[in-house]
């Protein structure tokens, strides 16, 4: 009978221990649910882009890839998309602000999962991947070209490939060598002198350049990380093996990320972004032109002839709901910038829309302190994280890069 007492005592002790917290599970059910929602295996398959009928055409993606890496797609023949979107650097350039033909005022964005964005650029001034791809081509600080010159260049270099995908090229013999509604005074004058039909022909070729580049960019997707392996094991109840096992500091950082530090409020879903715009009081940089973020982008995307409601869209208008139901005004748009994905972030400093912060430690310190915004109102509230907590958050963020 003595053994019965021993068993009863052991059972009682085990019960006490579990109530007292020694055997407490690492994550609550709510935490597990949130962690599962961040894992890459919950990323749905890429939806078709009905506004670009060539989006999933291999020949279009192949031409787009050629154009993406082609320095000929610029005014001086040296700058391509890949100058800033470097293939071996997560399609970004490690610089605080991108440098093309000139020095820009914004940080180059990485491209993993880019085709899933509802809005493009830090301020969302374009509403489709193909409309986005056209913008640097004519930005005087980036590729600095003009659409008439691009149309001529495509005909000369890639005419046959173009026509196999998009049909016959228009007659460009009467189109000036350089002309664009956005170019220099001379280019604008040349554009304005063109008959409407000719302008439309050039715009059509230009739009197709964007559609080919977008078809290529759709293949750039986020890759599985240590965090994803950890999350899958957590969800299935398997003991994480090898590098999928998190250190106590990484577990603590993850708990803070989805809890006290509120990071997951905006950095949510398998891409760690809500695809929305927020003022988080990131300071402006002296010497750069005034930058008000989303508040100025609304008029730009509405005026863009290549936006979803414009005539170069394929498919029907039902694809344009983001643009149709876009917020057009309100104080929350001042100095609001897009929530970037955090996948791979640890290995691509500097951070924020103009590379304001050199390290993740600086980023976390900024959110912990939550200073007021220079202009507009910050949505971030002070967290007063301890040094240990800030370090744990950084340790967790690194698991999204390994």
């Amino acid at each position: 009978m003595r053994w019965l007492i021993s068993v009863a005592s052991l059972l009682a002790l085990a019960a006490l221990a579990s109530v007292g917290g020694c055997g407490e599970p690492q994550f609550s059910d709510a935490e597990k649910k949130t962690i599962a929602s961040l894992a890459l295996n919950t990323l749905p398959s890429l939806k078709p882009d009905t506004t670009n009928q060539y989006a999933d055409l291999p020949a279009a993606a192949a031409l787009g890839s050629t154009l993406f890496f082609d320095g000929g797609m610029s005014r001086d023949g040296t700058v391509s998309c890949s100058t800033c979107h470097k293939i071996d650097r997560q399609f970004q350039d490690d610089l605080p602000q991108a440098v093309g033909v000139g020095h820009t005022n914004r940080r180059t964005m990485p491209l993993a999962g880019v085709a899933r964005n509802p809005w493009f650029f830090w301020d969302g001034r374009r509403d489709s991947l193909w409309a986005q791809a056209l913008t640097p081509l004519e930005n005087p600080l980036e590729q600095a070209g003009n659409r008439a010159a691009f149309a001529h260049y495509i005909k000369k270099r890639f005419g046959e490939r173009y026509e196999r995908i998009f049909g016959l090229l228009p007659d460009l013999s009467a189109v000036p060598a350089n002309a664009s509604p956005l170019g220099s005074d001379a280019e604008k004058a040349a554009w304005n002198a063109m008959p409407t039909g000719q302008q439309e022909d050039v715009n059509r070729v230009f739009a197709n350049i964007g559609k080919a580049i977008a078809a290529f960019e759709r293949s750039i997707e986020p890759e599985q990380t240590r965090f994803d392996r950890f999350a899958i094991d957590l969800a299935t109840g398997a003991a994480p093996q090898g590098d999928a096992a998190f250190s106590p500091e990484e577990v603590f950082g993850l708990k803070l990320f989805i809890g006290k530090a509120n990071c997951v409020t905006c950095h949510n879903g398998p891409r760690f972004t809500d695809n929305s715009f927020h003022n988080t009081a990131v300071p402006p940089i002296d010497g750069l032109p005034p930058d008000r973020g989303r508040v100025d982008a609304v008029a730009q995307v509405e005026a863009d002839p290549f936006n979803c409601l414009g005539k170069f869209r394929d498919g029907d208008e039902s694809a344009c709901r983001e643009l149709r139901f876009m917020v057009k005004d309100g104080p929350q748009m001042m100095r609001a910038y897009k929530t970037p994905s955090l996948r791979g972030a640890a290995s691509r400093p500097p951070y924020m829309h103009a590379g304001q912060f050199a390290t993740l430690e600086e980023v976390v310190a900024h959110y912990s302190k939550a200073p007021p915004s220079m202009e507009g109102v910050s949505e971030v509230h002070s967290l007063d994280l301890s040094e240990r907590e800030r370090a744990a958050l950084v340790a967790f963020l690194k698991t999204l890069s390994d």
């Binding site: 007492i5 949510n268 879903g269 809500d274 917020v327």
Partner: protein, 149 residues
Amino acid sequence: MGLASIWRYILAGLGLAALLVGIVTAVYLTLPQPAPGPDLSRSKKTANGLFVASFEPERGVVRQGELQSWLLTLKTAAGAPVEGAAITVSGGMPQHDHGLPTSPQATDYLGQGRYRIDGVKFTMSGWWQLRFAVSAAAGSDSVVFNIVL
């Protein structure tokens, strides 16, 4: 083994059980109690009682981060469908001090007092509010729905 010793074991067991119950109760009482949440009903009277409004996602489920359409159904207090209503939509997250990430609009009238509210998107989890200002033949009134993700 006598009867007395069996009673000893039963008593010991009971004592342990009582101790456990006590500890569990103590832990439970010291846990933070959830604050009473906002009213989550999907059907309610408008502020001044002019209409009864119901608000449901058109496809039944709410998905975070997706543009969705919802249905706003308006009836008079007597239960008759409200036709030809002018509806404006506003809202936001009361705890975050910001508005909606999109501008939802009443896009279609579907009959029987049902209006399609398209362009609704909840970009984060938490407490959201959608406020409808309704103008119809019976007068103007408003209603607020709380949605917690």
